[in-house]
């Protein structure tokens, strides 16, 4: 059961990631990334991280990707072109990444002491997670809220029209 679910959703992850690279229009890349994120949420559920699965759907797939989708729609970026730079990057980039992936895969497959995952094992309840988050790791949590406040201010400051720009009629 676990194997079947893992294979299906890992397949969705990889298909979505490859589709992100193949597609020419950014909106379809964004939708493929949403598929990747929701499949990852299911994989987190299989590994027993229930709260993280829900947070992945709510935060990543439901908020961050909505932001991406809005920007793609508003800027109406259009399809990509094949330029000299992109051809060079494909020729050099693909083999380099294949080499890196082969190295990492060799290290992983020769690792000792990795166990297996089974359904209904190692489920972390929300209570365990929140106990550690709000007692031991309270300071990083509060710092994160300041970080998000700074990000909000920065985004508003960057995205608004500056005072020096003129609008059409002037």
């Amino acid at each position: 059961m676990h194997l079947v679910l893992f294979l299906i959703f890992a397949g969705f992850c990889l298909a979505g990631a490859i589709n992100l690279l193949i597609q020419r229009h950014p909106i379809t890349s964004a939708l493929s990334l949403i598929v990747v994120m929701t499949s990852l949420a299911v994989l987190y559920l299989l590994l027993g991280a229930e709260f993280l699965a829900a947070a992945q759907v709510i935060v990543y797939a439901g908020a961050i990707m909505v932001l991406f989708t809005f920007v793609v729609m508003l800027l109406n970026a259009g399809r990509e072109e094949r330029t000299l730079g992109s051809r060079a990057a494909i020729v050099l980039g693909f083999p380099a990444v294949v080499v890196i992936l082969a190295l990492v895969a060799t290290i992983i497959l020769h690792a000792q002491g990795l166990g297996t995952a089974a359904l209904r094992e190692g489920i972390t309840s929300t209570q365990d997670l929140s106990t550690v988050l709000f007692t031991n790791l309270l300071l990083p949590f509060e710092v994160t809220s300041v970080l998000i406040l700074v990000a909000i201010l920065g985004a508003v400051a960057l995205a608004r029209r500056g005072d020096g720009e003129r609008t059409e009629g002037q």
């Binding site: 992100l20 964004a30 991280a49 920007v71 992109s86 190692g122 990083p140």
Partner: protein
Amino acid sequence: MNFTSVHMFSDVPLSWYLLLSAALFALGVVGFLIKRNLITVFMSIELMLNGVNLSFVTFAHQWHAVKGQIFVFFVMMVAAAEAAVGLAIIIAVFRARSTLAVDRIDLMKL
């Protein structure tokens, strides 16, 4: 619920999860290098972050450590903040250059 007829070879070795995570990260790096649209490059960065999150959760399962999952939580928060600011920068770049093609905005001179 107890099922009386489930096959017992259905446990998944954790190395498979790590391989998937490495594959997602590698695909994110490929996307970062080869895509020519600024937003798609940014989306490849998010893909890399998600790949890393999966490996954190895998190790949290392996060592029964909740702190691995909390780190994923923090990575999500940082990714959210980064996405907000990064997309604001992309909007500002688009306003200045009227294009999102990476090859055309690689010089500071207009």
